[in-house]
């Protein structure tokens, strides 16, 4: 699978509130074999999640999802929100830390617990985490021996995005709704798909606890309101009530088409790289990351698909421009075995420009100080001339 396919889901008309536009996704036929429910953690604590040998992923995690596989086709009800008994917390000096085990964990047969979006985020952070594969002399000893650790990215909690709370509160959920595409100032911020309408109803408020990229936060601040796209019916073609009804149906088709254009950044992204994370029965949990092309939208996320490749669960996170650039630089470096000259050539720049770019992107600590100093001096000399 190389791209996100929303087959089986239809977009319904959007509802707007301030700068936020919410597009509901409806499923004609709910998926019955898999159910999700939220697993809310005590708030205000940092979590440490083990993500591999000698690696830890630290983040604020308000909730986890539990995917439950029920017998094929058997009727299943949503579990609703459940409170978890706090695990034994490890006391540190000032911040309480909690160890969550792994990002995904098999709770028992047919139940899988995973932390929404963190799976995707971890995938992004772990990108080229091992550091330079060849010990070129420009890289510091630390970079070669220990990789990029610690790798840090910031994001904003949904509650901090102005207007999002009200927009989610006044949103009128469709009876058959199984998902939502969220736009802030008409930029695609996140997409969320669940298997069953009951799950959606239970998990709708969790959109507020999710984290969103910097771009979403800034747009919500900068744009006071987006316009509603009102329907226009052509009255010259209407001669009877049947015609009127037909033109309503037609306008619905237009709406569908329009939504495909709006969500193009996510749906038309061709070369997403998917990594399988876990399996529960016939369902596969995987995460994806984009090709890090700085010219287009870049979304990371996670999916659950069934054996036929049909999308059952989806959650995405929009990377900011700076995050995309970082991803782009790292993938380019990796593609050229971390050789500065070759990478610079591939990027259409020279060694000095690439060094400065790496420094500005926050990877300056990987290069030896004299390499950066030399580039800076050359840049200064060039600007004086």
């Amino acid at each position: 699978m190389k791209r996100i396919d929303l087959a089986g889901l239809t977009a319904a008309p959007a509802q707007t509130w301030g700068a936020v536009r919410l597009v509901p996704l409806l499923r004609d036929e709910p998926v019955t074999g898999l159910r999700l429910h939220a697993d809310v953690h005590d708030d205000g604590e940092l979590s440490i999640v083990q993500s591999g040998r000698r690696r830890a992923y630290i983040s604020y995690i308000p909730h986890a999802f539990v995917a439950t596989r029920s017998a094929e086709g058997a009727p299943a009800a949503a579990y609703g929100t459940q409170l978890h008994d706090p695990a034994v917390p490890a006391e540190s000096d000032c911040i309480r830390l909690r160890f969550r085990g792994r990002l995904t964990r098999r709770e028992n047969r047919g139940r899988l617990r995973f932390l929404p979006l963190h799976l995707a985020m971890e995938g992004y952070l772990a990108l080229q985490f091992a550091g330079p594969s060849v010990a070129w002399q420009e890289w510091t000893h630390q970079a070669v021996a220990h990789g990029l650790s610690p790798r840090v990215e910031a994001s904003y909690c949904g509650a901090a995005v102005p207007g999002l709370q009200d927009a989610l509160r006044v949103f009128e959920i469709h009876p058959g709704q199984c998902g939502m595409v969220l736009y802030v100032a008409d930029a695609l911020a996140a997409a969320f798909v669940v298997p069953h309408p009951d799950d959606y109803r239970a998990l709708h408020p969790s959109l507020l606890q999710d984290f969103y990229g910097e771009l979403v936060y800034q747009y919500a601040h900068l744009y006071p309101a987006v316009n509603d796209f009102s329907v226009r019916l052509d009255e010259t073609r209407v001669g009877s009530l049947a015609d009127l009804r037909a033109s309503i149906v037609e306008s619905q088709a237009q709406w569908e088409e329009f939504h495909r254009v709006m969500a193009g950044g996510l749906l038309d992204a061709e070369d997403l790289s998917f990594t399988k994370v876990n399996r529960v029965g016939r369902f596969t949990l995987s995460r994806f990351r984009p090709a890090f092309n700085p010219d287009v939208d870049n979304h990371i996320g996670e999916t659950i698909t069934d054996e036929a490749g049909r999308l059952v669960y989806l959650k995405t996170f929009r990377l900011s421009a700076a995050q995309t650039r970082r991803g782009h630089l790292l993938s380019q470096l990796a593609a050229h075995d971390w050789n500065l000259d070759e990478t610079a050539r591939a990027l259409g720049a020279d060694r000095q420009a690439l060094t400065l770019r790496l420094d500005r992107a926050g990877f300056g600590h990987l290069l030896r100080p004299e390499v950066i100093d030399h580039s800076r001096a050359k840049a200064r000399a060039a600007s004086r001339r």
Binding site: A14, E172, I173, H174, P175, L233, L241, L244
Partner: protein, 477 residues
């Protein structure tokens, strides 16, 4: 119609709609603060520009909050009116105060005191109203604090022991007035508090540590109708059987609010009883208009937003439900259509989106004489479809206007200073109690520009005359 007149007409109709619908409480989409501020501005604006019409609105079925605000504002800015205008306003104010619940009127007096409005005219109004109360001693017990504020502000001389009970209550060893004596004794004796009004007795019962169930059973005969209907769920919880209500006398919208407060299995179990009560309340509200409206189709909004807010639980839905039964009584042939709900209207539940457009087409297929839409006007599936459907209907399919279409909106939108409209061709009227629907539909011809400003003035003058005549009639009885 000249533009100035059209603007005036729109402003006044906008204000009337707001004064009927808005209670300055939290709504589904607006906070209470936004509602209060928006409504306050609207009052100032209409008072400044159309003072005469502003006063005349008191004669319409506006809600008590707005009536109180109008009275306060008229008295605050009395100097801006001439003598004849003031005399006219005086009559309207007196009549309006007589029609309002006492706690609202005492609220007005308290507000006047806070604002420092005190002159001979004002004091006379307070004096006359208090003199017109059936039992001042009862007021001295139930509205103790408010009456004392009013008495001090307007320098009232209160009859007999009432003044003593308010200002020198420690001195007398006993009172001769029965209710004052009960009130004195209730401080020491549990039995005496069952002779007091519920609101007073409740506090004293708590002080005596009386069990809630026993208290409710004891106080049941003293409850007012609205207190009784409000206490239903509490009484059921404490198994206080004496608080049972007589559904046959409850007003329609209150009854609808009560019905919707019951869980759905209970509504289904008591279906016959509740339906009969709603039908009879609707028949009482329709009175002699029953059956005169011809073929009526209603599109009723049961979207999630009709759940209202924490302070107005399911109010928009209750208005829609009440309108359903009222229209059934008013029309010769009736069809009610909910947006998502199907089947028995008693079991309606606020859920889903507001897809008005498609449903209006369904309704128009019945070719009704009248189409009534009850909705908060947030047509969002998709946005603006209802407006387009109605526009096309008006321009292409029914240019002669054989079907009269009216939109009733129970929610005031603070951003636009009006109830939200569906489109420029459709008359939108604010509604608070479904009982008033028949009278409100009369107002519906003004906002679309079909009737002029003069017609509006005449209509209001007519209503004022009727209002004052009814008031004198009630006074002489």
């Amino acid at each position: 119609m000249p533009t100035a007149q059209q603007v005036a007409c729109e402003d006044v109709v906008m204000f009337v709609n707001a004064a009927i619908a808005s209670t300055a409480q939290r709504e589904f989409r607006d906070e209470a603060g936004a509602q209060r501020m928006s409504l306050g501005f609207l009052h100032e604006y209409v008072l400044g520009n159309y003072r005469e019409l502003y006063a005349a609105t008191l004669a319409l079925d506006i809600n008590h909050l707005n009536a109180a605000m109008i009275v306060t504002n008229l008295l605050r800015h009395a100097s801006a009116a001439g003598d004849t205008q003031r005399a006219k306003e005086g009559k309207l104010i007196a009549a309006a105060l007589r029609g309002m619940p006492p706690q609202r009127v005492y609220g007005v007096f308290g507000e006047l005191r806070r604002l420092g409005v005190n002159n001979r005219r004002c004091r006379a109004i307070v004096r006359d109203w208090v003199a017109g109360r059936p039992d001042p001693a009862f007021d001295a017990v139930k509205y103790r604090r408010s009456l004392s504020v009013a008495a001090r502000h307007a320098h009232l001389s209160l009859p007999g022991e009432v003044g003593t009970a308010l200002f020198d209550w420690r001195r007398p060893k006993r009172y001769d007035t029965p209710i004052l004596e009960s009130w004195r004794r209730a401080h020491y004796e549990q039995k005496a508090l069952y002779e007091l009004p519920y609101t007073v007795a409740e506090g004293l019962a708590a002080r005596h540590g009386i069990d809630r169930a026993r208290f409710l059973n004891g106080i049941a005969p003293r409850l007012t109708d609205l207190e009784r209907i409000r206490l239903q769920s509490s009484a059921a919880r404490h198994q206080a059987g004496a608080v049972a209500i007589d559904l046959a006398t409850a007003p329609l919208t209150r009854l609808a609010v009560y019905v919707l407060s019951l869980p759905r299995p209970q509504r289904a179990a008591r279906r016959d009883e509740l339906t009969a009560a709603l039908r009879s309340a609707a028949a009482r509200a329709a009175r002699r208009r029953a059956g005169t409206w011809g073929r009526v189709v209603a599109v009723l909004d049961d979207s999630y937003s009709s759940a209202g807010s924490a302070v107005k639980r399911r109010r928009p839905l209750a208005v829609a439900l009440a309108a359903h039964y009222l229209l059934e009584a008013l029309s010769a042939e009736y069809t009610g259509m909910w947006l998502t709900h199907r089947g028995d209207p008693l079991l309606v539940h606020p859920v889903g989106t507001t897809g008005l457009g498609a449903r209006i087409v369904d309704a128009l297929e019945h070719r009704p004489d009248r189409l009534v839409i009850v909705s908060d006007g947030w047509d969002n599936a998709p946005v603006g479809q209802a407006a387009e459907v109605l526009r096309v209907w008006n321009t292409r399919l029914d240019p002669a206007g054989r079907t009269s279409i009216v939109h009733l909106n129970p929610v005031y939108d603070s951003d636009s200073f009006a109830v939200r409209r569906l489109g420029p061709q459709v008359a939108t009227v604010g509604v608070r109690d479904a009982e008033d629907v028949a009278a409100l539909v009369e107002l519906a011809r003004f906002p679309t520009g079909r009737a002029g400003f003069d017609a509006l003035r005449t209509h209001l003058a007519d209503r004022v005359e009727r209002f004052l005549a009814e008031d004198t009639q009630a006074g002489t009885q």
